[in-house]
């Protein structure tokens, strides 16, 4: 266990060096917060241009929270699987990592933690920007911040394991399948109701949406921070059920990720794909 934690810590540090060593801290901070702030402002202006009609600040508040916390999904999900491509094809170090006396899964989890850190920075800045620059009523005296942190952590575990599932797939597919990772992230963004209420989706898409853990995760976070439900199809679902769905899906993803990743590693090694270069 100690060995695993050491590997995770070292690879997280390595990931941080890869992410951040190209620029001074200020420039890196600008880079880390530019995307979440820009997407927040895009939504802000979208709501503002129709505010004369039906859009209210309350509407924006829900969109804002969904969009902000979804940053974890895009950053971590894509980041972990992208690490496989970068190490394999750009740095050409994957084969050395494999021959080192460490478990590759622990290494990837460490790389994932780097992404969790940069995503957390983006989320915190976006929340502070929302509260102080946009004047959103985020967090009052009764906001259970402890539960919010717990819900974020639980959802993050699910995102990390889903990232491992994609990293496993990345081991056995060519580089250009980065589209697969970005596409899946886009699909989750569309189906989890991150930036619009679920009821605007057609019935078939809503059914898929209700099968995704992120839909429940975002709804739970919105309820914890704002104290009221948002998605109409989940209006009758108690908070406890949301916690239950999130915990069960996280456990399910963990088991699935472990089995899938082991199989992908076996295939990659047996087919000689560990030092595969498809950068054409």
């Amino acid at each position: 266990m100690k060995r695993t934690l050491d590997v995770i810590r070292s690879s997280a540090w390595l990931g941080w060096q890869i992410e951040a060593n190209w620029a001074d801290p200020f420039l890196f901070l600008v880079y880390a917060i530019a995307k979440p702030l820009a997407t927040t402002l895009i939504l802000f202006f979208m709501v503002r241009v129709v505010s004369a009609g039906t859009a209210t600040q309350d509407t924006f508040l829900f969109l804002f929270l969904g969009n902000t916390f979804f940053l974890y999904v895009t950053e971590v999900l894509i980041g972990i699987s992208w690490a496989v491509f970068r190490d394999r094809e750009d740095y050409e170090t994957l084969k050395y990592i494999y021959t080192a006396p460490i478990r590759f899964l622990s290494y990837l989890l460490g790389r994932g933690f780097t992404k969790v850190t940069t995503a957390t920075l983006g989320v915190l800045v976006a929340l502070l920007f929302g509260k102080f620059a946009l004047g959103l009523p985020l967090g009052g005296a009764g906001t259970p911040w402890g539960l919010v942190v717990l819900a974020v952590a639980l959802g993050l575990v699910a995102v990390l394991w889903l990232g491992i599932i994609l990293a496993g797939a990345s081991l056995i597919v060519a580089r250009h399948s980065i589209n697969m990772n970005e596409g899946l992230s886009g699909l989750f963004f569309l189906l989890s109701g991150a930036v619009f209420p679920l009821e605007v989706l057609p019935a078939w898409a809503r059914a898929i949406s209700l099968a995704l853990p992120f839909t429940y995760w975002l709804e739970l976070l919105r309820r914890l921070i704002l104290g009221r439900p948002y998605a109409a199809p989940l209006a009758q679902t108690p908070d406890l059920s949301l916690w239950g769905v999130l915990a069960l899906s996280t456990a399910g993803l963990t088991v699935a990720a472990l089995l899938w990743f082991r199989w992908c590693e076996h295939v990659a090694r047996s087919r000689g794909l560990i030092d595969w270069k498809t950068n054409y």
Binding site: A34, R48, G186, F196
Partner: protein, 275 residues
């Protein structure tokens, strides 16, 4: 043996055609890439259409998003396949091959641009067709021709800006990657891809109008939807602004490419891999 002007012109035209051909052929080589390049951007656009639907906004706002989504495809192509391209070529060890050829760098970039436009048009067409057929956004076909003319002018100015960025990225290593990322969402915001640029306010929208894609999109929306487009610049100014930006960017790109190449040779950075 001396080389006449005719030979130089022929060589440069050949370089343009060759570079464009490579890009077009490569874009159809990987079927999964085609799916990734067309379907997935459509999903992002769809999410923003649904935002307006959730806000119960008039359908014309959804049309703004669809047009913006189509233009995003071109902007991303400029960023990742034009501005950053010399960086990628350097990473793969091909940049020096370009530098020893007796053709202008601008010819190579123009070839990239033409090939990139052809490649990206399939993506933009899917977004536009999906927006019209799936989401039923209004599209006044009778005004499509003047809008298309403005669109071509916009593309010329946008890809000229890409040539300037390319000269900057020529010098950079890994910074190029991050800078391209940095130019993505903030430019989506500043260009008003998802809402009329006028909503940014006069000062911010004026600065945004230095971006040809913001001006062009504003104009295309005005041509198609008239007053309902909530345009920022008067429509009659927009072609003139775009022509001025095009001329300025081409001049700057030429100067900048020569300067950066000389600087890169002097500092020995043209063969230095960023990773």
């Amino acid at each position: 043996m001396t080389t006449g002007r005719g030979d130089v012109l022929r060589m440069n035209l050949g370089a343009i055609a060759a570079r464009a051909q490579v890009r077009i052929v490569a874009s159809w080589r990987e079927k999964s890439w085609i799916v990734g390049e067309t379907i997935f951007p459509f999903l992002a656009m769809a999410a923003f259409v649904l935002v307006y639907r959730g806000l119960k906004a008039p359908p014309i706002y959804e049309a703004f998003v669809v047009l913006g989504g189509a233009m995003i495809a071109y902007w991303n192509n400029v960023l990742w396949s034009m501005a950053s391209q010399f960086f990628w070529e350097k990473e793969q060890g091909q940049l020096q091959l370009y530098l020893i050829t007796p053709v202008s760098r601008m010819s190579i970039l123009l070839g990239m641009a033409l090939g990139g436009i052809a490649m990206t048009t399939s993506r933009a067409a899917v977004i536009l067709a999906g927006g019209i057929l799936i989401f039923g956004v209004p599209f006044p076909w009778e005004r499509a021709l003047p809008a298309f003319g403005l669109f071509l002018l916009t593309l010329a100015a946008v890809y000229s800006l890409g040539m300037i960025l390319s000269s900057l990225f020529l010098m950079w290593g890994r910074e190029a990657w991050y800078t391209a990322t940095l130019f993505q969402e903030p430019i989506h915001l500043a260009s008003g891809f998802y809402f009329p640029v006028r909503a940014l306010g006069t000062v911010a929208a004026s600065f945004a109008s230095l971006l040809p894609i913001a001006v062009g999109l504003d104009g295309i929306r005005q041509v198609l939807y008239g007053e309902a487009a909530h345009g920022f610049l008067p429509l009659r100014w927009i072609p003139l602004v775009l022509v001025c930006l095009l001329a300025l960017f081409l001049f700057l790109a030429h100067r900048s490419l020569s300067f950066m190449e000389t600087l890169g040779k002097r500092e020995g950075r043209l063969t230095l891999r960023g990773d």
